[in-house]
Structure formats: structure tokens, C-alpha cells
């Protein structure tokens, strides 16, 4: 076997090994998930927060949220890297300012990504998040 083939086989083995370690390590870092049954129970207990019942602007807002906000605020918007977005006590204008301007060192600006209509749709979705 030539040294080139040996190098290739060893390279592939190390690469797959490292990827295996990385993928194996990932579940240990993931936050504990709420069991599916309990999540359903929570959703049904909260009026209007189940995504199935969202309509119009709020439904579009959920779609935008799911794509851009959920990675930090959590799939259920109950907080992950960023804070929970339930029961926000801020005005629509303040929320819009935060979405568009970001929070220095904590949250990026979405001014280029979202139009005013998008921001209003997200706010409409956020207003459905009530405990």
C-alpha cells in the first residue's frame, strides 16, 4: 500500500473520529427537553399559543420567528441563549426598536433582514405568547 493511500485512510479515519466525537458530545450540551406530552399539555393550557391556531399576521410572524429568532430564543420562545419572550411588558414600538436595532453585545440588528411589515408580523406573534 502506498504512503498516499495510507495517508488517505488515516485522514478519513481521524476526520470521521473527530466528527463522531463532536456529534457524540452535542447531546450532552443540549438543554433538557420538555417531554412531548407535557409540551402538548402546556400548549393546550395556553390560549392561542399553539402554532396550529395562529392566523394571519401572527402565523406569518411565527414563520419569521421560527427561521430567525428561534435559534436564540428557543423553539417555543421560552428562552434559550436569549430570554423568554412570553408576556412581554414592552410596547410594540419598543419591541420593534429592539428587533431592528438589536442589543449591543447580545442580539444582532435585524434592520436589513426584516421590513416594517415583517417586524409587525413578529410582534403579532409575540403578543400571542401568554402564560
Amino acid at each position: 500500500m502506498s504512503i498516499e493511500i495510507k495517508g488517505l485512510l488515516l485522514g478519513l479515519a481521524v476526520a470521521f473520529g473527530l466528527l463522531g466525537v463532536t456529534f457524540g458530545l452535542a447531546p450532552l450540551l443540549q438543554p433538557k427537553k420538555v417531554p412531548e406530552g407535557k409540551r402538548e399539555q402546556q400548549a393546550s393550557a395556553v390560549s392561542g399559543t399553539s402554532t396550529d391556531v395562529l392566523q394571519g399576521e401572527a402565523k406569518r410572524g411565527y414563520s419569521l420567528f421560527d427561521h430567525s429568532c428561534a435559534p436564540c430564543h428557543g423553539d417555543d420562545a421560552r428562552g434559550d441563549e436569549g430570554p423568554s419572550l412570553y408576556d412581554l411588558a414592552k410596547s410594540d414600538a419598543r419591541i420593534a426598536t429592539i428587533i431592528k436595532g438589536g442589543v449591543k453585545g447580545e442580539m444582532p440588528s435585524f434592520a436589513k433582514k426584516f421590513s416594517d411589515a415583517d417586524v409587525q408580523a413578529i410582534i403579532a406573534y409575540l403578543r400571542t405568547l401568554k402564560d
Binding site: 504512503i3 498516499e4 495517508g7 476526520a15 452535542a26 435559534p71 440588528s109 435585524f110
Partner: protein, 143 residues
Amino acid sequence: MDNSLWVKMHGGTTHFPIALVMASALFDLAGLVVPENVGRSRRAGFRAAGFYTLILGALGSIGAVLSGLVISRGQLWGRGNLAHHHTFLWPAFGLLTSLAVWRLVVGNHASNHTFRIYLGIAFITAALMGAAGYFGGELLLNG
């Protein structure tokens, strides 16, 4: 440990592998196209630069992946730009470590033909790293 330290570590460590892998491919390309009569030592110099930048890039990528895994809380895929970032990142990480080990094992004993194939894959890896970095930046700067 404060999560913001991991965020800073990720921001600091990710740029090294991207820049070093691109530099490595360019050094190796330069080593390949420098005419024989210009000087063997210059060719060897470019090859050595390509080798060491690749090894440093591969070592740096381990720190970048580890810190990225911590700040994304173990998300291997995610959504939106995070998913785009990972789409390019995982193949790039696999290829980068493979290339580094291959270079370590083979040293200067690769045939010209094989080295050209290696170089092609190195440029693909550099492009994938660049794309992963682009979407990582989008994630941090433009959501």
C-alpha cells in the same frame, strides 16, 4: 463558565482556520506554479508554508468547533442561517482534518498528480470554510 466567554472565543478562533486554510491552498498553488529554474528552495518554502498553515488551521478548527458547539448548546444543525452555517461547516471540518492528517503522513512524498488532486480538494475546503464563515457572520450580525 460565562457563556459570553465562549462567544468571544468562537469569534476569535473561527477566523484562524478560515484564513489559514485559504493561505495554505494559495501557498501550495504558488509552490506548484513556481518554475523549476527559479529555485527549488523557493518551491520547498511555499510547500512548507502551505503545510504549516494547514496544520495550524486544522488545530484551530478544533477550538472553533468546540466553542461553537457550546454557544449553540449542542445544536448540530439548527434553523435559518445556523443551518446554512452547519451545512458548510461539517463537510469543511471533515475535509480539513483529513487533509491535515494526509499531509502529516505523506510529507513530501506525494506524486505531482496526487498533489494536484490534494490542492483541488484544499481549495474546495477553503471555499466551504469561507461559506461557513459567511453564514456564521450573518448569524451574528444580521440574525
